[in-house]
């Protein structure tokens, strides 16, 4: 039986560890050293699924880790991670996804800016007509 302090430390370390799983390079690192083949580690990954519950998930700053954790439950994914190209591909896709929303936002801002550029031209026409 662990003390409360030990449990809190364990919470902290598990919180850090699961978020590290969002890093594809770290996953590649783990795969190349054979951790992803060890049965205790695989069981540990299954145990970590409790972070999906809302009362735990609210502490995750990097939510990508949950998706990675789900993928890690599959043996095929764990095997593939040994390849560096696989990790690189995941990294690229992750970065592109990460930039998706900010790109969308800049596009929206551009569209809004264009709209506002057009608007100042209209009131002069309106005034001319009123006169």
């Amino acid at each position: 039986m662990e003390t409360e302090e030990q449990a809190r430390n364990r919470f902290q370390s598990e919180l850090e560890f699961i978020q590290c799983l969002a890093n594809p390079n770290y996953l590649n690192f783990l795969a190349q050293r054979g951790f992803l083949r060890e049965r205790p580690f695989i069981n540990y990954l299954k145990y970590l699924l409790y972070w999906k519950e809302p009362e735990y998930a609210k502490f995750l700053k990097y939510p990508h880790c949950l998706h990675m954790l789900e993928l890690l439950q599959y043996e095929h994914f764990r095997k593939e991670l040994v390849n560096a190209q696989c990790a690189k591909f995941i990294d690229e896709q992750q970065l592109l996804h990460w930039q998706h929303y900010s790109r969308k936002r800049t596009r929206l801002q551009q569209a809004l800016a264009e709209q506002q550029q057009q608007q100042p031209q209209q009131p002069p026409h309106g005034n001319a007509a009123a006169k």
């Binding site: 409360e4 969002a22 409790y50 735990y56 700053k61 939510p63």
Partner: protein, 253 residues
């Protein structure tokens, strides 16, 4: 009452008719004979007459019986028709009942499904305020949305970088036993564990202040992962990683 052993009425009627025919023929023969010659047997014509009368009586009785049988048969037919009608009524009701049962069964099933989904939704309900707070946390820190001024070469990432990982609790746990294998980090005082705790950068993803009351779920040591084993894994973690993530530049359009 062996009714089956009795001859059917039709047969009896026919046999009586035959008898009548025979007797009347005999009588007529006798009468024709008595024209030409005297009666050979004086009592025979009376006998034949009596037989004739008897047969006629039998015939009349049989006709009555036949009539009664006819009316009974008619009644039977009427009743059969009634029975048929009731039968079809019952079948109709049966069909309707089956339909009703089917409809009710589907209604009950759908209601149960609805209740299940209501339960599920209720279980997963979270206050909107919490969700908004969380959404703010993960987006303001650029964890799920890239900073607007991000260019390739920027070390920020949607996951904890090497530096962040090493400066966390796990990194420190692994640093306790000094290992001289760190070829990449001779100058990193942090890795050598000589920096006092005050100066260690404390990243918000480690959130020790927020999670004060939070405890992880209990687990038996089924997966055989004792803390010493955990530390061993982190020792390898602290060693230089094969690819340093902050130096990789990705082409983003």
């Amino acid at each position: 009452m062996a009714a089956a052993a009795e001859k059917p009425t039709k047969e009896r009627l026919l046999s009586v008719l035959d008898d009548l025919e025979v007797l009347s023929r005999e009588l007529i023969e006798m009468l024709s004979l008595s024209r030409s010659q005297k009666l050979p047997q004086p009592g025979e014509d009376v006998q034949v007459l009596e037989l004739l009368v008897q047969r006629d009586r039998e015939f009349q009785e049989l006709m009555e019986v036949a009539q009664q049988q006819g009316s009974v048969h008619q009644e039977m037919q009427l009743l059969e028709k009634e029975v048929e009608k009731r039968d079809s009524d019952i079948q109709q009701l049966q069909k309707q009942l089956k339909e009703a049962e089917h409809i009710l069964a589907t209604a009950v099933y759908q209601a149960k499904e609805k209740l299940k989904s209501i339960d599920k939704a209720r279980k997963g309900s979270i206050s909107s305020e919490e969700i908004i707070k969380y959404a703010h946390r993960i987006s303001a820190s650029n964890a799920v949305c890239a900073p607007l001024n991000w260019v390739p070469g920027d070390p920020r990432r949607p996951y904890p970088t090497d530096l962040e990982m090493r400066s966390g609790m796990l990194g420190h746990m692994a640093n306790m036993p000094t290992n001289g294998v760190n070829g990449h980090l001779p100058g990193d005082a942090l890795a050598a564990g000589r920096l006092p705790d005050v100066l260690t950068p404390h990243y918000p993803w480690q959130s020790s202040d927020v999670s004060v009351g939070m405890l992880p779920p209990h687990h038996g040591n089924d997966f055989g992962l004792e803390p010493p084993g955990h530390n061993k894994e982190n020792e390898d973690d602290v060693e230089a990683m094969s690819t340093d993530s902050s130096s990789s530049s990705s082409d983003s359009d």
